[in-house]
Subunit: 208 residues, 4 copies
Amino acid sequence: MSTKPIRNRRLPAEARRAQIVQAVLRVVSEHGVPSATVARIAAAAGVSEGTLYVYFSSREDMLRAALDAIFGDISDLIDSTEGLSAIERLTVTARRHSELAKTEGGGFVTPWVEFIAGGPQVGLREAVAETQNKAFEKMLSIVKQGQSDGTIRTDLDARRLTWQWYTIMWAENVSYLMGLSEYIDAGHSGYSLDLLLRDATGAPPSGA
Amino acid sequence: MSTKPIRNRRLPAEARRAQIVQAVLRVVSEHGVPSATVARIAAAAGVSEGTLYVYFSSREDMLRAALDAIFGDISDLIDSTEGLSAIERLTVTARRHSELAKTEGGGFVTPWVEFIAGGPQVGLREAVAETQNKAFEKMLSIVKQGQSDGTIRTDLDARRLTWQWYTIMWAENVSYLMGLSEYIDAGHSGYSLDLLLRDATGAPPSGA
Amino acid sequence: MSTKPIRNRRLPAEARRAQIVQAVLRVVSEHGVPSATVARIAAAAGVSEGTLYVYFSSREDMLRAALDAIFGDISDLIDSTEGLSAIERLTVTARRHSELAKTEGGGFVTPWVEFIAGGPQVGLREAVAETQNKAFEKMLSIVKQGQSDGTIRTDLDARRLTWQWYTIMWAENVSYLMGLSEYIDAGHSGYSLDLLLRDATGAPPSGA
Amino acid sequence: MSTKPIRNRRLPAEARRAQIVQAVLRVVSEHGVPSATVARIAAAAGVSEGTLYVYFSSREDMLRAALDAIFGDISDLIDSTEGLSAIERLTVTARRHSELAKTEGGGFVTPWVEFIAGGPQVGLREAVAETQNKAFEKMLSIVKQGQSDGTIRTDLDARRLTWQWYTIMWAENVSYLMGLSEYIDAGHSGYSLDLLLRDATGAPPSGA
DNA sequence: AATGAATGAGTATTCATTCAT
DNA sequence: TATGAATGAATACTCATTCAT
């Protein structure tokens, strides 16, 4: 009797929350955090503004939930490389990050960068830092795994190596943020990663 | 006999402008660019909002002036290493940058990071990118000087090397931004820089 | 059980819109278009400024809606003479216009004059001209009807005659605008109209 | 010693006032009354904003002085027809008014129209009405002169005839204001004036 | 007499949040 | 549960006016 969109009534709470979170991510990707207004989020989610406040206590709450979703995606990306060696996991994860940043939509990378950029103004900086920390710990465990199975030099500080790895990711993000895509396209980060991993494995420098 | 401003009345135009620019930098450091409202800037400068518009045509104009002031500080920092060798200049400039980031207030580093992170969202993308480019070119000329006097390998892409150097600075900045100062304090960037410069000079890796 | 608005809450959208439009007309009558600020309109409508923007996208939008309402009233006035002869319609419409201008509030005449006088200055020039043109065409069709049924000389330019008719209305409006109601009260426009219609019908001048 | 513009110092008070009034007229012609800001007036007059307040107590005062200057120009125009017959004076004055309105700059007509349009918002409406009244009386004396020397029918109400004459001027102004220059260019007001003067002199209608 | 730095009240508009329905 | 009408505080910006120099 009805092909017209069924009214939004009665959706399982968890499904509705997820639907809203996805809308937040889309809006943040497209407009940035400061311009992710509740009006836009409501429109993107296909619900009224009032409904948002049934599932979230505030706009900040919605943004935080989106941040958590991003961490979930990051976790999934990292977990998807399970089975590979530590060095391979570092390489593959970095490559996928670069690819994702360059694709339309940008997967979780685009909203992630927008959160780093736009976080401070809405009191989200701490939440962003916390998410970053969790992601850091996840990569750290891979490095440590590499050290214990002997593929990564054990005389290196694992936290430092992880930090170096993130350094390259962040540099891509910052370049993206400043519109300096020239540096991303030039593949500079590939060279940096290569340099880093050679040092980590004890392989001879590429110039030798 | 007294230099303290008894009342805000009658200040030479240039002094007032400078005072306002300093206020902008303080507000940006503390609240980020998107939350650097004219009300906050006026309060920080100790003048009325109307007065801001006597000296600047718009909020964007104020922010741009602050950006220029930052570039002046960056230039001064780089210029202060004149007379040293290229490698020394890269090393010293990076060290001073780290030190500055750790001091109370953070010198120009804190507002600079905020501009990179929050600028694009408020229509300052071009201005931020331009300033970054000018700073980039300044370091690039040092790298090229090193190549021409033989202290840096000539088979390396000078722009890539400069980008790598900035990568380390940005990583410090991002760490600082997220309150991850642990990584700055640990001196990780020193190690990264060392790795980078070994590669650049053709020196053997430290582990050999 | 009570139709009086106990509180401003929950009014059907269309009713609220109409309420605001009426407030705009009142404010424009009293203060003129340039001084019809959103603050004054909100106060006159008994709603918050924010509410205005729920129903209108901008102040200009509100003013335009008020202009449309005026045209509606003009149309109604003209349409109410349907069934009469062309000459009678010109006479009766003019008389009702004069009467309206003299009543407390001034009906649509007062805001209409303010729009003509003050509209152009606030970017409403086109909207005002368009409304005037629509009103012009409405009277023009009456003149043409008079020409085709033979009650108005066909050797006269219909547009010119219509313009002359409006000229008399505008003169009343300008007099009203400048507080020179003496000239309205004296019925001068009746004499002018008589002169005009004698010329239009080919009747001998009154002095003959 | 100096070809550079001599400083504005020490000008006879009356000359400076006149200089400012001319600036006001220019600014009003170009921008309209609401946009005739003291900043613009000061710039047009080549003096500082503060100086304006040495010679005038307020912006309204400046505008009123400009209004008086316009009345002076109107008086001059009317006086320049002295020696002619009353009918000629009415005809010539109206023609010059039309011509003036169409020329670049617009003489006194442009600012005069702007004052009628923009007056209300700055509490100038009364002053505008007063000026209009003075101009009315001046034309009225010509009509009366015409009646006493027998060139204008004495059975007509002199005030009404004067009002009819102004009706035509106002209609031109209103058309100008609404951008309906088509009606000015078509020479409709010439026809109306002709009709009016035929009635005033007792001449047969043009159609006879 | 002349200046121009400084102000504060006022402008239109946006938006997260509330709450009666 | 879901709505959307209503709000008020905040936003950047304008401008007539004052007053120490």
